[in-house]
């Protein structure tokens, strides 16, 4: 079952990052278009769907693995989200912010490993 873990952990992470990107995009558009706009509603739904996929994958992983094994990977989401927001949402990302996110990620990995 080792291969299943190797596959499922990245999928769970990607689902989480994608979900956050969709939610951010939806909330930003809602400021201009309001909540009844079809695009805003579909982005919100994609966001909720991705987060739900992440939630159940995590439950499944936690049922078989220790939290101290699964949670460190979750720490990587910080740097992944910062980079993805810069690429997909064209947010300005300077060296300081990148380094800050990297340290937070590394710190969470250390905190949750012990």
């Amino acid at each position: 079952m080792r291969w299943l873990v190797v596959v499922l952990i990245p999928i769970a992470l990607i689902a989480f990052v994608t979900g956050q990107l969709f939610l951010k995009h939806a909330m930003e558009s809602s400021a201009v278009k309001g909540f009844r706009d079809a695009q805003v509603i579909s982005f919100l739904s994609y966001g909720v769907l991705s987060m739900t996929v992440h939630f159940f994958l995590m439950l499944g992983l936690l049922a078989h693995l220790d939290l101290s094994y699964v949670y460190p990977f979750q720490g990587l989401s910080v740097i992944m989200i910062s980079l993805a927001a810069a690429v997909m949402l064209r947010e300005r990302l300077n060296l300081r912010l990148t380094f800050g996110s990297l340290l937070i990620s590394a710190g969470i990995v250390l905190v949750s490993m012990s």
Binding site: K24, G100, S101, L103, A106, G107, S112
Partner: protein, 135 residues
Amino acid sequence: MTKKRPLGFANPWVVLGFEVICVLVYELLQKRGASETANLSPIWSWTGITALVSPLVWLAMLLMIFSLLSWLYVLRYIPLSIAFPLSRVVDVLVPLSCWVILGENISARRWCGITLVIIGLMLTAKPVARLEEKL
């Protein structure tokens, strides 16, 4: 990048702080509620269903809803690459509160991790202070 932001309690930075506190408190409540009810049924306690007996768990769920709504509000105003790293301050606050309130131990490795997160948070928060000055 910077839209006009509401002031007072509606200020997105204040709401982000509220979101972090909600997450911190619900994590602690969940832990307390789950441990309290762990002995009710040896099998069912693994599904988490027995934890519903504890009012602390219901309070945790209420806080979870608050934290989600405030997170969505924060996303409306603050760039994700700043808001998300800052929201992870909770990963430092949870072990620290467990240490202070629940009397759990913190290993040397964990202290190193906490220090790294704090330095990272300071690096991330610095441009925010400058951003706000301009407004």
